[in-house]
Amino acid sequence: MCVCVCVCVQSGPASLPAEDISTNSNGPKQDSLFDDDPEDLFAEATEEVSLDSPERDVLLSDGPSPAITPITPPCSLITPHIDMFTHCSFDEIEEEEGGDSFDMHISVSDPEKVGDGMNAYMAYKVSTKTSMSLFRSQDFSVKRRFSDFLGLHSKLASKYLHIGYIVPPAPEKSIVGMTKVKVGKEDQSSNEFVEKRRSALERYLMRTVKHPTLLKDPDVLQFLESSELPRAVSTQALSSAGILRMVNKAAEAVNKMTIKMNESDAWFEEKQQHFDNLDLQLRKLHASVESLVCHRRELSVNTALFAKSAAMLGNSEDHTALSRALSQLAEVEEKIDQLHQDQANADFYCFSELLGDYVRLITAVKGVFDHRMKTWQKWQDGQILLQKKREAEAKLQFNNKPEKLQQAKDEMRELEGKVQQGERDFELISKTIRKEVSRFEKERVKDFKTIIIKYLESLVQTQQKQKVKNIIIIIFSISY
């Protein structure tokens, strides 16, 4: 059971309100979540950690006050894949209608190559552990392939994007990466590719199920539960459906440019700007971090090469003490090499992957804003059409054509209905987006905090290793 530690309770918008938000106001100030007031910060953070959460066990060693006692950091932190969601799974308590709290953990594991040659594919085991009543059992798993994930996303996108839900984007296709795997190249880069994909799929699923609306979607349930899934053929990159998608995307982009919306709601204008900025900065950051990762790997390779070269030099040296010293130097450099490898891996999976996820997520957010604009446009078009019909009706009345008049009256009534629906749709999508954005921002804060903490911890680890390295250097320099 989860127990929440509450530092202070706010009646304001610190927690995600489940009740309706009026569209007339500018919306509750969701941004006050992030005020400089420290109380706010703690209030926001109260939902995160429970007394028996695994997160806490990992971060604090023994004793209730780690600030005082010296810590031996946990040794398994720099793992090849950082499963950040294990630390987030028991953290949120949502007020659901059914009284279910969010308690679910999905893992994607055991990548297995099925088949041979160009028709081969990777099958992943998707395991779900949950106590929610939504599901048939508490612990179950299925086998899925990559196109199944894409198919799921495609279905969810077609159902929810246009009404304002931020549907998490699926991991990207990679023809190059996959071809290597299919061809059977069992080298480090193809293993890394599979691991990268596995990790991305896991994050994708967790994000999807954490969305309260998407979780209840029958497609999601079917994806997680049923042992057989109809093959999603239209997700292939170069299929006709794929090409159709690309064409549609292009058409949408053109349309977007021509819509001039009279934004009456300052909240939306501000948010649009905010996400545009965020998009720019995150892309830049992502590029820099990827560059960092690349250079760290280069450094690791170069250090290893140098170590070997120094060892050869040591062997060549005919003064035995110096020879020993040079060999030891070579050994130390090898250890430094390991250090760099670990750091590179930690940097990569922690930060770069998350940034990549968020770059794609923000694209989805912007897409949702665009859909709102389209909805508005539809509503406006309906109104214009109605106006025209009214004018036409007036003319008919004037010209006294009873049959045509009746027809016109009927059409108008229908149109009025449509216009009212259009207005309702617009209000609904605006309301949904407010909720979604608030949720999104909350998740973002949490995700980045987790990553930062993990990064800081790995930094500490690195420094510990650095100290060991220094001791080695001292010893050999003294002995020589």
């Binding site: 530092v7 941004d31 992030f34 005020d35 400089d36 703690f42 953070a45 950690v49 997160e55 971060l59 604090l60 780690p66 600030a67 005082i68 010296p70 810590i71 905010h274 900025n277 965020l278 900065q281 830049k284 950051l285 820099s288 971090v289 560059s291 960092l292 250079h295 280069e298 450094l299 170069n302 250090t303 090469l305 140098f306 070269s309 030099l313 060549s316 040296e317 003064h319 110096l322 010293a325 040079l326 921002e441 804060v445 980045f448 905090k449 930062i452 903490i453 990064y455 800081l456 911890e457 930094l459 500490v460 510990q464 650095q466 390295k469 220094n470 250097i473 001292i474 320099s477 020589y480």
Partner: protein, 398 residues
């Protein structure tokens, strides 16, 4: 653009030199104008051969080259290892980077640009320090050599208070760089092809040839390593700049990003400093000895040449005896060749032995200094104690 700057260099001597109080040389400061470096060569001496006991002269890199060349081309010094000529100061790399930085200024934030500029200025400074050091060591090698320190041109170099350029031109016309060119071509073939009677030289030859190729390789790899370090340091600058921007625009990051950023920026500083210090110590050491070993190889070459001359003179003598003609000249020539060869062998043996001892001492000294530097960095790089991290984490999770 890089303006005239005056720097006082750091003393990072790589060899045990400058102990003999009768002739002490150092380069206390230098001036950098665009690419040209003007060194102030300062001499303190008790020798009567000098006019004053304490004096300084300004010298350029070309003056050093002139001095080295005259020594190489002096026949009397053929049996000595002439200290390698200091390489030309190379500001090309930082200058090019500065140019690129200027072009890309519009794409960066002000902070980023300033930081990158600082990094480049540090690089300039490192190149500068390096070049002063290597020029200083060259002079000190000469001053501590029993024979070379007495060289007339060396004294002129130290003392002549006018511009050396005029004298340099005359000297070049006289020697024409003949010997230098000869040495540069096909020396390895000649050295390895020779039939060696002396065990010592046989061993030395094998060792030097092998060691040279290995040290050359190590030098190249060390350079690559430090270049990677610099790239990483630059990445950190960009990352911290972007995090700063995010933090300014977006309150979310202000809460997450604060500590993160400072640790990044800090790491960047440390990485950059590690890179340049590592470069200064390790790579310079390797580079220096690579050049020194080339100088030793040059000695072996000259001796090999002398042996070839001697063998040729033997053949000539035999031919003369056969023809019963010009026998006294042939005998005289053969005697001279033998003398020359013996002299070279004798002084060569002494030189190579002391060279080995010097190299071992220098390596040891540098390895220890490197270790001390790493320790210093370790202390500097962890002012944030582990417990501070855990406090931070605790605070986030309260």
């Amino acid at each position: 653009h890089y303006n005239t700057e005056k720097y006082h260099h750091m003393r990072s001597v790589s060899v045990d030199l400058n102990h003999d109080a009768s002739l002490l040389i150092d380069i206390p400061d230098a001036l950098c104008e665009r690419d040209k470096v003007k060194f102030t060569v300062h001499t303190k001496t008790t020798l009567s051969s000098f006019q004053k006991p304490d004096f300084s002269v300004p010298r350029q890199h070309e003056d050093f080259i002139w001095l080295h060349d005259t020594l190489v081309e002096t026949e009397d010094y053929a049996g000595l290892i002439i200290p390698p000529v200091p390489p030309k100061p190379d500001f090309e790399s930082p200058r090019e980077k500065m140019h690129k930085l200027g072009e890309g200024e519009a794409t960066m934030t002000k902070e980023e640009y300033t930081k990158m500029k600082q990094e480049l200025e540090a690089e300039y400074l490192a190149v500068f320090k390096k070049t002063v050091q290597v020029h200083e060591v060259f002079l000190q090698r000469l001053s501590s050599h029993p024979i070379l320190s007495k060289d007339r041109n060396f004294q002129i170099f130290l003392e002549y208070d006018q511009d050396l350029t005029v004298r340099r031109k005359n000297a070049k016309e006289m020697f024409g760089g003949f010997f230098k060119n000869m040495v540069k071509s096909a020396d390895e073939v000649l050295i390895s092809g020779i039939k060696e009677v002396d065990d010592f030289f046989e061993q030395e030859k094998t060792f030097l040839l092998d060691y040279y190729s290995k040290i050359k390789d190590s030098t190249a790899k060390a350079e690559k390593m430090t270049r990677s370090h610099k790239n990483i340091a630059d990445d950190y600058i960009h990352i911290s700049a972007t995090l700063n921007t995010l933090s300014a625009d977006d309150s979310t990051y202000r809460h997450c990003g604060g500590y993160y950023m400072s640790s990044f920026v800090f790491l960047q500083k440390v990485e950059g400093r590690v890179a340049s210090d590592q470069e200064l110590k390790l790579t310079e050491l390797l580079r220096y000895y690579m050049r020194d070993i080339q100088a030793a190889k040059d000695l072996l070459y000259r001796r090999a040449r002398a042996l070839v001359d001697y063998e040729n003179s033997n053949k000539a003598l035999d031919k003369a005896r056969l023809k019963s003609r010009d026998i006294p000249q042939a005998e005289e020539h053969q005697k001279q060749c033998l003398q020359k060869f013996d002299k070279l062998s004798e002084s060569g043996k002494k030189e190579l032995t002391s060279f080995k001892g010097r190299r071992v001492v220098a390596f040891r000294k540098n390895l220890i200094e490197m270790a001390e530097l790493e320790i210093k960095h370790a202390k500097v790089s962890s002012p944030i104690q582990p417990r501070d991290f855990y406090t931070l984490i605790h605070v986030y999770n309260m």
